[in-house]
Amino acid sequence: MIDSISGKTPSRKKGWTRREWRYFWLGLVFASPWIIGFLIFTVYPFFSSLYFSLTEYDLFNPPRWVGIDNYKAIMEDRSFYKSITNTLFMAFISVPITLFSSLLIAMLLNFKVRGINYYRTMFYLPAVIPGVASALLWTWMLNPDFGLVNMFLRWVGLPDPAWLLDPRFTKPSLVLMGLWGSGAGALIFLAALQGVPQTYYEAAQVDGANWWHRFWKITVPALSPIILFQLIMGLIGAFQIFTESYILAGGKAGSGSSLGGPGQSLLFYAVNLYQEAFIHLKMGYASALAWILFIIVMLITLLVLKTSKRWVYYGGE
């Protein structure tokens, strides 16, 4: 993996065996759709953004080489630090919570009871509501005086925050909204649960293992490849979170109102990047932001993959 990141070609051992060559060609053929697509449609945008990051590029005029000036300027930009703090919150608070709730829901939906297909449909419903409609719904749900969330909190005697209007609670609001969309993540876990042999559970039951025990000793290891997937995708998604903030806190582009919500508490990395690229017409600067994010997230991903060797079990190995 490290080799591949540093861009080295595969270590070309001298003299491949016939078998190795055969697998090489087979691998190439199977991967060919992606390779073709990558070469035609991805290589150029991918690397041109790296080039743009070293230029001043306003979209309308040809890029002008400025070296690492953009990167230097970013290091002194307050918005950069604000946006990265906000984004880290989402990555490290929201991702684990959503992951856990998806897993929980998947297990609920795996009960073999009557009418389960109706339940499954219900749990997936939040994912089919268009963004603008669900944004309005959430401003209702989180309305400090009349919203259902605060009604409930008052009923159990907890404090009732102003949610989307209070800079301290805007990000927790998004976490709450993310929970509600965890039905989609649950679907992936549910698909994976179908592959866990029932016999394992039966055997464990004979051994007198309780629910909790079975969850940790059977379900989690069996699902670990998918947990890894959801964790990495969750992290990548969290670092690119954009739409939620744009819909909830966005002014119209170009109207002079700044994106980012109360106290800039929803100024996420991708929101800041979007603003620089398409409103301030600083595509070079935005590309530099993109590559800094790229390096950060790539490092985190590699770290996760590295540790995964200790907790992910592949049945095929």
């Binding site: 306003d58 979209l59 309308f60 005029n61 307050r78 918005s79 309305n143 400090p144 005086d145 102003a162 949610w163 209007l165 209070d166 800079p167 582009a253 170009g254 109207s255 002079g256 109102s257 700044s258 980012g260 109360p262 106290g263 800039q264 603003q275 398409f278 409103i279 301030h280 017409l281 600083k282």
Partner: protein, 436 residues
């Protein structure tokens, strides 16, 4: 194995069919359809122009009506409209070399885009066809001009005025609207109501709005073109920021957030001005139409924005924003595009369109037009739009960034995260290097 192979073959054929099918549609779509010019103009193929605009829904329908009218009188130049709510499409298309022939945009984008070469300067055409630029409201036109070039023509403009709730003012013993900033401050104090141990029930005026409008009330200016200096620390701007900060601190962030949380949706009967939660508000020419629709019984008045009592020459200040039409650079038929653009901004079409969507016209000759007679509140606004103290945010290549940074720091100042001087200095430090 053979069976599976044939399935993949099928998939592949299907793939090809889809690719070729879609690819094949394109030339047919971009060319003109056969048998089109039945109107007798058989001399040459009509030119087809694409026209992208940012209005949607019923406002788009009003514009389509005008396009239809044009297509009826000019069968040789066919215009095809496309409504698109996001300007990123235009940006991408222009950069990608596939621009529309005419497009709309916000006024504040014109100079940033124009100076970078995305918009075609219209001056040669304006000169050739003797378009009288003197008829346009100066503050509206200036946002489309830079360095002697005109990059777009404004079709509609917005300006804000002071709305006040007559009943609430009377109850507080106030006679008529405030005229000066000093009076405004007193009014806000008198009209705001706290109950139950300091809980805010009503606000004279929401303190967080629009530092731009108040800057002009204090004679402020954001840019010194002669010395090429951005001036967020200008005395007038600073006075406006301090004014907002002064009201904000009377109540505090915590109480204002709490109060704001109980406010209703802007475009509904629960708009806080309609329900009396705000005694006054600063808003645009569309508000009277909403009031008529959502709160027909509201007793309200429209008044000029207060001005600095130490400087009576600043009477009737205001901040102007516009919507414009422009021709992107690199279009195939600039002459035809111009003809259509010119026609759209002629008095007759401008009157029809702005009246339909409830915006102010940018031509002074239209300010007495009877088409606006029945639009609620328009008499006050039309009259106000000829005030010499209206300004728009200075049109520079960096104005978008300037406005973003100013708004960000203004909010930080209000919330006490940074002092007034330090906040304004931050704006200057960030924006001054962008001046070329």
């Amino acid at each position: 194995m053979k069976r599976k192979g044939s399935i993949w073959g099928l998939v592949f054929v299907l793939l090809l069919a889809i690719l070729s099918g879609c690819g094949g549609k394109k030339p047919a779509g971009s060319g003109s359809e056969s048998g089109e010019p039945a109107g007798g103009d058989a001399k040459k193929e009509p030119v087809e122009l694409s026209f992208w605009y940012g209005w949607t829904g019923t406002e788009a329908a009003a514009l389509e009506k005008l396009i239809q009218k044009w297509n009826d009188i000019r069968p040789d130049i066919r215009v095809k409209g496309l409504s698109q709510s996001d300007y990123q499409k235009q940006l991408t298309a222009i950069t990608g070399g596939n621009p529309p022939d005419i497009a709309s945009n916000f006024g504040q984008d014109v100079v940033p885009w124009g100076e970078r070469g995305a918009m075609m300067p219209l001056d040669d055409y304006i000169k050739k066809d003797n378009v009288d630029l003197g008829d346009f409201v100066p503050a509206a036109l200036s946002s489309s001009q830079s360095d002697g070039k005109t990059y777009a023509l404004p079709i509609a403009m917005h300006v804000s005025m002071l709305f006040y709730n007559k009943e609430l003012l009377e109850k507080a013993g106030l006679n008529g609207p405030p005229e000066t900033m000093g009076q405004l401050k007193e009014y806000i104090a008198k009209l705001s109501v706290k109950e139950n141990g300091g809980k805010l029930q009503r606000l004279g005026l929401w303190p967080g709005v629009d530092a731009f409008t108040f800057s002009y009330a204090y004679g402020g200016s954001y840019y010194d073109a002669e010395n090429k200096q951005v001036t967020p620390d200008n005395a007038g701007v600073k006075a406006a920021v301090e004014f907002g900060k002064g009201i904000w601190d009377q109540f505090g962030s915590k109480e204002l957030d709490r109060f704001a949380s109980g406010l209703g949706q802007y475009m509904s009967p629960q708009n806080p001005f309609f329900t009396g939660k705000y005694a006054m508000t600063i808003d645009g020419e569309w508000l009277p139409t909403f009031i008529k629709q959502y709160a027909p019984n509201l007793q309200y008045g429209i008044a000029p924005i207060p001005y600095d009592e130490n400087n009576p020459s600043l009477k009737h200040p205001g901040n102007v924003t516009t919507s414009v039409f422009y021709i992107p650079k690199g279009v195939k038929h600039p002459d035809e595009s111009w003809k259509f653009l010119k026609w759209l901004t002629e008095p007759e079409q401008m009157a029809e369109f702005t009246a339909a969507i409830g915006n102010l016209p940018t031509r002074t000759s239209l300010q007495q037009h009877e088409i606006y007679k029945d639009v609620p509140g328009f008499q006050e606004f039309l009259q106000y739009s000829s005030s010499p103290n209206l300004h728009s945010f200075p049109a520079t290549s960096f104005s978008a960034e300037y406005m973003t940074e100013f708004t960000t720091q203004y909010n930080a100042i209000l919330r006490g995260e940074v002092g007034v001087d330090e906040g304004l200095k931050r704006v200057k430090d960030k924006i001054q290097p962008l001046v070329k």
